[in-house]
């Protein structure tokens, strides 16, 4: 048994465990960066982390706040230009795992990180896709990491920024996309995997202490559960201490020159995570940390 932990810690640890020592990851800021570096500091010391800023094989000691923090280039094997990064490394098919997240995700793992409401008259203008549209199509597979709420896990996304399985079945193939797509969705409540044929997301494992009801309440569509339904092993003491050390180093580093800003005390930013890009008032409501888009 291990100490108490938050559901966001469980999410990061569950994601980290799924990464392999020989993976080449296209890492987004926030939860993906946390998960990838946690994997590197635990069971996958040789994992290759690529950030879209051009840094290949970065080994940051603290989590970057931005996709191009000095730490990334200073610890990278090499840094290439951004056009080369997207052409030779992403489009060239060199990435085994790409990470995605966003404000909305639907049952076929299509992701919206562009707008809430109509595109031309948005209720909320989100940051946008950044690298995500091509990460979704060109990495051999993608893992989605995001906090799960009824507001974020929706029946239909307002806008498809990054294509998952579209309307399901062989929709990817019909568009000429020859990669596996979102093979895993890791949330703070559970792990989902696409149904082999319909491609609808199905809950494959619940995190410790999480009930089917909780998952259903936080999902905008009638979510299905695998049978048998697995339980995610609890975080180990090593996983938790490594994660917390990394977060502490990060918080200290980013607050180094403290600015008069409540945000600087906000753990979601201290963790280098992109808060849900929704209107501020909703932030406080959100149960938990939310990962950012891969951008």
């Amino acid at each position: 048994m291990s100490a108490a932990y938050s559901s966001s810690e469980m999410m990061a640890i569950a994601a980290a465990r799924l990464l392999r020592n020989d993976d080449v990851c296209f890492v987004g800021i926030g939860a993906p960066s946390l998960a990838c570096n946690l994997a590197r500091l635990t069971h996958a010391p040789d994992i290759t982390l690529i950030y879209e800023s051009g840094t290949v094989g970065a080994r940051p000691d603290v989590l970057p706040l931005s996709i191009g923090d000095p730490e990334l280039c200073e610890t990278a094997r090499t840094t290439v230009s951004v056009p080369e990064m997207f052409a030779y490394w992403l489009q060239g098919g060199r990435i085994s795992v790409g990470f995605l997240g966003g404000a909305q995700l639907d049952r076929f793992a299509n992701i919206n990180s562009s707008v809430i409401g109509p595109y031309d008259k948005p209720k909320v203008r989100l940051p946008g896709g950044g690298g995500a549209p091509e990460i979704a199509a060109l990495c051999r597979q993608t893992y989605v990491v995001m906090g799960q709420t009824k507001r974020s896990f929706v029946e239909r996304v307002d806008f498809v920024t990054s294509f998952g399985f579209g309307e399901g079945d062989d929709h990817r193939q019909r568009l000429g996309i020859n990669t596996a797509g979102p093979t895993l969705v890791i949330t703070d409540l559970c792990v989902m995997r696409p149904d082999p044929t319909t491609k609808e997301l199905v809950v494959s494992a619940l995190h410790p202490g999480v009930t089917r009801e909780q998952v259903a309440e936080n999902t905008g569509w009638p979510v299905r559960f695998a049978d048998p339904l697995e339980e995610t092993p609890s975080p180990t003491a090593e996983e938790l201490s490594t994660l917390r050390d990394l977060q502490r180093r990060t918080t200290e580093a980013h607050a180094a020159r403290v600015a008069p800003s409540p945000a600087s005390a906000d753990p979601s930013t201290a963790l280098g995570m992109t808060p849900p890009a929704v209107i501020p008032s909703e932030r406080s409501e959100s149960r938990d940390l939310h990962p950012g888009s891969a951008a």
Partner: protein
């Protein structure tokens, strides 16, 4: 060929109302000092091009300098929204903002196409994305060998490119190191290029025969602007001010607070003061 100018003179000479300007730098080497000088000179109706608008464009947008934004990711990295960008898009404050939205891959390819003198770039891009329906500049070509449909975007050819770099020599050759982003591409793609640098030196001290160097004959004006990338950073000179990026979330959230901050820290400060700030 290359002129050595003050920041004030360089912006006055080459950035005019209504022109298309790209201040680039992918997180690293963002030319903040140059952007602030554009604000001080109150340029209007600009079309701004930049993959990640970042704080510098949030400031230009909030000060009403911008008519149109061409971009691919408009957030405050690791923090959240760019509130001035959102306010302009959601509430047309201080003026309506036209958007041309791309993906990073497409914009990077479009800069490369501009540098390469091509009219367009092709990529495996936008597959299944709704962006295609909302941007008339995302089209397609068919590969004449495989029949595959590829996305195509027009080359980016800004009137003026502005980038920050580590150093220039006295002839105007510029060295860029670290995260080079699209710095070389935007300079070669633009009609005019302004480069602000940390220092002007006798010897560039290029560490490698393959160092990223822009020859003086590709650059219109070089401006010495130490600290000119703050709160972004300059590899080998100073670190990124992440605390300020976090603080900006609060500063920029409120219109009045934003305006006050800009008055105090940009309008009432001079290029020279800022350069050493």
């Amino acid at each position: 060929m290359t002129e050595f100018l003050s920041l004030r003179d360089a912006i006055a000479a080459y950035v005019s109302d209504g022109s298309t300007v790209a201040l680039e730098g992918f997180t690293h080497l963002i030319p903040f000092a140059a952007g602030h000088e554009i604000v001080r000179q109150n340029k209007r109706d600009l079309t701004l091009v930049r993959m990640t608008p970042d704080l510098i464009y949030d400031q230009l947008i909030g000060m009403g300098c911008v008519r149109k934004l061409v971009f691919s990711w408009g957030g405050n990295p690791g923090v959240g929204s760019l509130h001035r960008l959102r306010d302009a898009v959601e509430h047309a404050w201080p003026r309506p903002l036209e958007l041309e939205e791309h993906s990073h891959a497409a914009m990077a390819a479009a800069y490369a196409a501009g540098a390469a003198g091509l009219p367009c770039a092709i990529l495996r891009g936008y597959a299944g994305s709704d962006l295609v329906e909302h941007n008339a500049n995302i089209r397609s070509v068919t590969c004449p060998f495989t029949g595959e449909r590829l996305a195509a975007v027009p080359a980016i050819r800004p009137d003026v490119a502005i980038v920050h770099a580590q150093r220039a020599d006295r002839a105007g050759n510029v060295l860029i190191e670290g995260i080079t982003g699209v710095q070389k591409e935007v300079v070669l793609a633009a009609r005019k290029a302004i480069v602000t640098v940390e220092e002007i030196v006798a010897d560039l001290r290029a560490p490698s025969p393959n160092s990223t160097i822009l020859p003086y004959w590709t650059i219109t004006a070089v401006v010495e602007a130490p600290g000119g990338a703050r709160p972004s950073y300059a590899h080998g000179y100073y670190a990124r001010d992440n605390a300020f990026y976090i603080a900006w979330d609060t500063i920029s959230r409120d219109r009045d607070q934003f305006t006050r901050w800009m008055r105090e820290h940009v309008l009432e400060s001079s290029a020279s003061v800022e350069a050493v700030a």
